[in-house]
């Protein structure tokens, strides 16, 4: 119960904190709208105007991935710069319980992206907002947030070894957009790309949200995959964090950048 309270309080705090950052507002609201606009025009010019909801949902997921990547990837580094990392690690609560709310919040503000691209699409491109399975759509969103948030935990605990976390985040933004099938069907890629996409939360997240919104596919399987991956990421994140914490204590390098 105490752990849940800590996660909830931390999630609310970081959600408010990220919402006040103009950089994250750009990443989560403006940038997805820019990409959605380009994609809307491309699909419409290609005579595929009937699939604009597909595009709006994909562009929204792009924003969720970006905000997770930048906020989670830099989570430990930012604590280091702000001088709060030592305090967080020295606190009686396990460090993972301090970090999980941060990465969950970073995935949650990605919801601004989904909202922004859907509203933008509706207002300026007449994208219909009719959901095939509303209940599954509502279930798919938290499942996607949870899986991306836990992937964020893995990013946070591994990026800490890389001095330029932002550059690493830059590096991973486009490739994951590409191979997760957010805007491009995976069938267009060479066969070796597909197994890579299966271990990525955005692949199953977009499938869960899209299949529940547009019908077809198996949204329940995608939701289950999101939750399953979240558990795997959580285990990986805990392992990496323990390793990082032990090494940092041994080498007295916790506050070094």
């Amino acid at each position: 119960m105490r752990a849940l309270r800590l996660i909830l309080a931390g999630w609310r705090f970081h959600l408010k904190s990220l919402t006040l950052s103009s950089f994250f507002l750009l990443t989560s609201a403006i940038q997805p709208v820019i990409f959605a606009t380009i994609a809307f025009y491309m699909w419409r010019a290609g005579g595929r105007g009937d699939t604009l909801l597909y595009v709006a949902l994909g562009a929204g997921l792009m924003g969720i991935w970006s905000s997770t990547l930048f906020a989670s990837g830099g989570a430990i580094s930012w604590q280091r710069w702000q001088g709060t990392l030592e305090l967080s690690i020295a606190a009686p609560a396990p460090f993972v319980l301090v970090l999980i709310p941060m990465t969950l919040a970073s995935a949650t503000i990605g919801l601004y992206s989904l909202t922004a691209t859907l509203v933008w699409g509706r207002l300026f491109f007449g994208v219909p907002l009719e959901l095939e399975h509303p209940a599954l759509f509502v279930a798919a969103i938290p499942a996607t947030i949870a899986s991306l948030g836990m992937l964020g935990l893995v990013l946070a605990s591994t990026f800490v070894l890389y001095r330029n976390a932002n550059a690493m985040a830059n590096l991973l933004e486009y490739p994951i957009w590409l191979i997760s099938g957010l805007l491009v069907p995976l069938s267009l890629f060479p066969g070796w790309v597909r197994p890579l996409s299966w271990v990525l939360a955005p692949t199953w997240g977009v499938r869960a949200i899209r299949d529940s919104a547009l019908g077809g596919g198996d949204p329940l399987l995608a939701i289950a995959m999101c939750l399953g991956l979240a558990v795997v990421y959580l285990a990986g994140g805990i392992f990496c964090l323990r390793l990082f914490e032990r090494l940092a204590r041994q080498r007295a390098s916790l506050s070094l950048t």
Binding site: I38, A39, M42, W43, R44, G47, Y174, L178, V184
Partner: protein, 261 residues
């Protein structure tokens, strides 16, 4: 002679300082790998949408990638100096502003050209696109002129950076608008009229148009009008940037806001 020294030595020094933080660990992922994946993303969206050939996206995005270092680096000439508390010293010097800031722009143009050429080469190798060999030299000239015009826009961005605190956010928005408006991924004819009209006044638009014409068989002479327009637009933004820099410099002295970040 003093202005020439400020232009060359100041420009090179500033660029070397930029690389103080822009190490290979940042440069390679951000300025070389990201543009390549941008080309791949839009080429595959184009395939999925059944819109244009791979070459259309390689040309558009490779030239747009020149804007990435040009807009960011020129924005950084202000925000970086402010962050390191050297902006006041730079602006307190009696040096003429024209060579001071143009000197900083010259290496940025070269950088933009390198980024554009690299992403064009890799994009061509990875996708289904074979530009005619005789088009490569004209394409290089077009990339250089486009990098210049984007640097002009970057200087304006840097000037606004004297007033706007979040220059990286501003730079990202500028890059996004170039991506939407300039016919990088959507043919201008398929954009609404007001958007293609705005595009005519932005850097990139005419450069991209010239590059696509050259690959389609036009000579450099055939596209000279487009290139002159592209260079002219770059010059206008450059001059506008210098005016804005001067204006906000005076304002920030008056209101003591130079180092407010």
């Amino acid at each position: 002679m003093n202005s020439l020294r400020i232009f060359f030595v100041g420009g090179v020094t500033s660029y070397r300082a930029l690389f103080g933080w822009l190490t290979p660990w940042v440069f390679v992922p951000t300025l070389l790998i990201v543009p390549v994946f941008q080309i791949l993303l839009f080429a595959y969206i184009g395939r999925a949408a059944g819109l244009e050939s791979d070459g259309f996206y390689v040309i558009g995005n490779a030239l747009q990638s020149a804007a990435l270092p040009c807009v960011f680096a020129m924005g950084h000439t202000i925000s970086g100096e402010r962050r390191q508390h050297t902006l006041a010293f730079v602006l307190a010097t009696p040096a003429r502003r024209l060579p001071l800031f143009l000197g900083r722009a010259l290496p940025v143009v070269a950088n933009g050209f390198v980024v554009s050429a690299f992403s064009f080469a890799v994009g061509t190798a990875l996708l289904d696109f074979s530009p005619p060999p005789e088009s490569l030299a004209p394409l290089a000239a077009i990339a250089l002129i486009t990098a210049f015009s984007c640097t002009g826009l970057g200087l304006l961005n840097g000037g606004i950076g004297l007033r706007v605190r979040e220059t990286s956010v501003l730079s990202n928005v500028v890059l996004g608008l170039l991506l939407v408006f300039c016919g990088v991924n959507v043919p201008l004819d398929d954009l609404p009229g007001w958007m293609s009209t705005i595009a005519e006044g932005l850097p990139l638009t005419n450069g991209i148009r010239a590059a696509r014409d050259v690959v389609a068989g036009a000579s450099l002479g055939d596209v000279s009008g487009l290139l002159l327009t592209e260079a002219g637009i770059g010059l206008v933004y450059l001059l506008l940037g210098l005016v804005v820099l001067r204006f906000f410099e005076v304002q920030s002295r008056r209101h003591a806001t130079l180092e407010r970040s």
